[in-house]
């Protein structure tokens, strides 16, 4: 891997005076690739994404031997530097666009505002033009009309495209997508993923894709981190998931129901306490 975009070593995150450790000893690097983080609820996968953006509540404590974006130390960066990084250099897409968009502002204005926030020298006209270009880039037909809609007037899939447009308009280098398609129907989900895939390839971005859905990650990402109880238990290439060595990864894969040839019983996971301490399998 050449020069990593994000480099994290031994990240620990605790909530409420250190009683609850959400993330323990997590290390990984992100290059210009699609990195998936998979885990079940409570595994700490979303916490990792938010910690990079420094969006965790102030009651939490994040420590790491190293936590950098390019050569900026994310642990020591002041709030002003973080303002520049958030949105401008690292974008964040959340699960449900309904909660991420301002309900009383037209979507076009919201995207334009994001653009002008990061490019204050840009004029009104230029921002508007850029917004329409962006909406077109996320394959919204009739962008003129959509820009004038309010968030409640757009469908889930459209809303998520708008969020993607809003995140990409500032031309970030890294995108963190936290369950970006979980709120969408299966048929819409594929369209949004394909769009994300294309935009990332064209712009040569680094992507952190956080999801509970192993099959989705396997289709979409280059590399996968599997998280369990705040730790990375296994790292492997997405195409090698079938030869995963960690019992947790194997168990997750096996417990998925299948359409074509369902087993009479689904294998279930027996959680082994040693998973909490074993070193990470894979690199």
């Amino acid at each position: 891997m050449t020069e990593p975009l994000i480099d994290i070593r031994n990240m620990e995150i605790s909530f409420a005076d250190g009683y609850v450790k959400a993330v323990r000893g997590v290390s990984f690097q992100l290059g210009r690739e699609k990195l998936g983080i998979v885990g079940e609820s409570g595994s700490g996968k979303s916490t990792v994404g938010r910690a990079i953006m420094r969006l965790l509540p102030s009651s939490s404590r994040t420590t790491a031997d190293r936590m950098t974006f390019h050569d900026i130390d994310l642990l020591r960066a002041d709030e002003k530097q973080m303002m520049d990084i958030r949105g401008r250099r690292i974008g964040l897409i959340l699960q449900d666009p309904k909660y991420s968009l301002n309900p009383v502002m037209r979507v076009g204005e919201q995207i334009a505002e994001t653009y002008r926030l990061h490019y204050p020298q840009a004029g009104r006209k230029a921002a508007e033009k850029k917004v329409l270009e962006m909406l077109e880039a996320v394959r919204i037909r009739d962008p003129q009309r959509v820009a004038r809609l309010y968030p409640h007037e757009v469908s889930g899939g459209m809303g998520q495209r708008i969020m993607i447009a809003m995140m990409l308009i500032a031309e970030p280098e890294v995108l963190i997508a936290d369950e970006p398609t979980s709120a969408l129907d299966v048929t819409v989900r594929l369209d949004v993923l394909a769009l994300l895939d294309e935009l990332i390839a064209r712009r040569n971005l680094g992507l952190i894709f956080i999801s509970h859905d192993l099959n989705l990650i396997r289709k979409f990402c280059d590399r996968v981190l599997i998280m369990y109880a705040g730790r990375i238990v296994e790292v492997l290439k997405a195409s090698d998931l079938d030869s995963a060595r960690h019992p947790y990864t194997q168990g997750l894969l096996a417990s998925l129901p299948s359409i074509e040839n369902p087993p009479s019983r689904l294998p279930t996971l027996t959680r082994d306490p040693s998973w909490l301490t074993q070193p990470t399998i894979g690199i």
């Binding site: 079940e40 609820s41 889930g156 129907d185 299966v186 048929t187 989900r189 594929l190 369209d191 993923l193 394909a194 895939d197 509970h212 859905d213 192993l214 099959n215 989705l216 289709k219 979409f220 168990g251 997750l252 894969l253 417990s255 998925l256 129901p257 299948s258 359409i259 074509e260 040839n261 369902p262 009479s264 019983r265 689904l266 294998p267 279930t268 996971l269």
Partner: protein, 258 residues
Amino acid sequence: MIEVENLTVRFGPRSPLVVKGVGFSVPRGTAFGLVGESGCGKSTVLRAISGLNRNCGGRISLDGQPLEPSRSRSFFRSVQMVFQDPYGSLHPRKTVRSQLIEPLRNQNLPINAHVVEDVLKAVGLDPGLGYRFPHQLSGGQRQRVAIARALILDPPVLLLDEPTSALDVSVQAEILNLLADLQKERGLTYLLVSHDMAVIAHLCSRVAIMSAGEIVEETGIDQIRSGAVEHPYSRRLLSASHAYGKQEQRSIEELISF
């Protein structure tokens, strides 16, 4: 066991139809799946059958008997429902035990301690959990409690509204196994609603695919497995669902060409 003919449902007396004349029949002891995307009306059908939504037309019969719009108390001893969100379907301030006793009390049935213990064991929970509150349980345990609550009246029919979609996959597998076991042991009739074709395929023998308030296709599970569905929407839904199948190795680009 359940026959539905030309069922129409709306949310209010003057609002438009959400379910536009659906019909199907579920033989005793089988599992029937209703699959479709959000807003297609699949859950609304379930709520109409349960009597939670009374703005409906058409005929619903149970065991050959047509149902009155207002359900009798004894109806609920034949039909119970399991909801999607185990966080919202349990009373937050009542212990597991008192929530399990509640159905017996409402039906004026005798309440004795081992009924509660038996039903907790039947859903694979330690009877000691009866004294806990829902917030002291995991999502999977809560869903087991919700299933126990439905089973305590010993109904022959269970309506399952996305019973696993709020759960992690490993927990989903446990609940699906439990539902399959219970059906076998007790000869239950299931009407399962889900957006997830794989969940439906795991439990059901027949499937109706819904879109925009109508059933576009009803077919056997073998046709679903082999991909031999006819309606264009069914094909689209199935191929999108296949994108997550284990064997499928097609790339995203190929998939969106559908």
